[in-house]
Amino acid sequence: MPIAPYRHRLAMRAAAVGLLAAIVAGCGTSVSTILATVGPETTPMRVGLGYIPSVQFAPFYLAQQAGYYADAGLEVTFENGNDADIIRLTGSGDYDIGIADGTSLIPAVSQGIPVRYLATLYADFPSIVFAKPGAGITTAADLEGKKLGMPGKFGSSWVMLQALLSSVGLTPADLEIVEFPDFGQRVAVEEGIVDAATGFINNEPIQLARSGTAPIVLAVDEVVPLPGPGLISGQSTIDGPKREAVRAFVAATLRAMADIAADPMRGVEAAEVAVPELAADREGQLAVLEATVGAWQSPYTEANGLGAIDSGAWTESIDFMRAMPESPVAEPVTADQIIEQELLP
């Protein structure tokens, strides 16, 4: 009979503690000294953030620096990784918490990865289509026959584009898609190589606006309310001894989000402490964070509070993704299998 992963990890940890104890004993220091230093009530939490440290993760940096996590008895360490790895490692329990896009979570759960969506970070879907004014694009219908740049036909941008086009009876075949795997689509729009491109509400439009050209932005939220990035945790984690720690982490993070929504500069300062390189362009970071704060909020979160999960919107999104040509959702899945509302404050 295979050893259950959790039991195996416990055995490994016990062995590691034993080894540590032996080393410490050899050094003449008692294990109790180490435990006293860490604090008996502290719960260690490994958290998987997005690929690159950035101002977009300001709530986590602020909650750490302001002591919100420590006050809740959490000892939090952040690790950066990509969406797919974070989902797998959170499902396996290696990460206690992760950030993942809702459109990635739906196929992941359909493949049996035991992860749950705990709180909404981006209430507005951050992936958008943008175009320079004068490109003749003001609505999704105007994309017909146009050249559109995107990193590739996968991920949240691909799902968003199909949702946007389907709302006006178009498909990706009705436009010319030019791939920019190095994410150079903003330059391509600026240079007129493509008419429009996919991007993120808190990235390319901000950069274009700062260079003097406020772009036209086509968002998908009015068409299909796709679930944006949010906090996730593994089923074994939320069913295990860390359930209350996870609840405390969610509450502390949402508290920091509310602080930043009220005063974005607090978030910029926290991000600069965590990632000193960001201080080189404080104005730019503030612009990015203000756009990010805008995406945290929607009519639903205004009515139900930051972090609230709109289960109806999830069901709509699942139905849409299941109906997509070459759907990434392998097996039927329901919103109840993905979202976990009970850990919200």
Partner: protein
């Protein structure tokens, strides 16, 4: 025991060694899963991967991607080899060419293809051409170097003899140096054949619609179908081994003919 019986026995021994080797790998793989307690979405077992490999081929998921990669690899290999052999001869026979070109060739080879691939995709587009360029670049170096080494190690007495018979420069290269250097050149091509597969996958990761590298990425990041990702990796491995064996077969044929 007759010679035929001896050959028969050697074949059986080779086949048995292959089967035993494969069995050891599969058992070790399954043991790693049991001992490590890995879930299928982290490390699927050999049976699961085998099943997904079969369904991936029968339902048409893998075949179009494999054909695209095969096309890129073959064209890239041919371009790299076609440029590598004359360059190797030039480097072996011209001191000035060696002095001028060697630093650039070595420097180009030192650059990680992973870093160059996105630039190549930017310059040549994300279609077939960029993959052929990447494969060609990665194949060029081992073929050029092995050709250079092979030509330089040709027995000088052979060359003296050909010159005594008033062989022209072209005759010397085509009839003495290249045939004598053939084992070394084909050795470089063996390495190039496997590297060409790596080049195609790296090129597809830098941007592509189709190919086994794309399928690996899709299975990993969009579909979360880990067994399919392993099935695609298995197909890549089979492709590399098959190309290597083709070069070995050509080598055996040419060297045997020469003997």
């Amino acid at each position: 025991m007759s010679a035929q019986q001896g050959r028969h026995r050697r074949r059986w021994s080779s086949a048995l060694a292959l089967v035993v080797g494969a069995a050891i790998v599969l058992v070790a793989w399954q043991a790693a899963i049991v001992v490590g307690g890995y879930e299928p979405y982290l490390l699927p077992g050999p049976l699961e991967v085998g099943g997904r490999f079969v369904t991936g081929w029968t339902d048409g998921t893998i075949a179009p991607h494999a054909l695209t990669t095969l096309q890129e690899v073959v064209l890239g290999f041919l371009v790299g080899a076609a440029l590598g052999v004359p360059t190797g001869v030039l480097l072996a026979r011209s001191r000035i060419a060696a002095q001028v070109l060697s630093p650039y060739i070595v420097a180009a080879q030192s650059m990680p293809i992973l870093a160059l691939a996105p630039l190549i995709a930017l310059w040549f587009g994300t279609g077939l051409l960029s993959k052929v360029v990447i494969c060609g670049l990665i194949v060029f170096f081992p073929v050029a170097v092995s050709t250079m080494v092979g030509v330089r190690s040709v027995d000088p007495r052979l060359i003296e003899m050909a010159r005594a018979f008033r062989a022209t420069r072209n005759q010397l290269i085509r009839q003495i140096e290249l045939p004598a250097a053939l084992p070394a050149i084909l050795g470089g091509m063996r390495v190039g054949a496997t590297l060409a597969v790596v080049g195609a996958i790296v090129g597809e990761w830098a941007g592509a619609d189709r190919g086994l590298g794309v399928l690996v990425n899709l299975a990993r990041g969009s579909l979360f179908d880990t067994p399919l990702m392993f099935a695609a990796l298995l197909t890549i491995a089979i492709l590399g081994v098959a190309l290597y064996l083709v070069v070995v077969a050509i080598e055996r044929r040419l060297v045997a003919d020469r003997s």
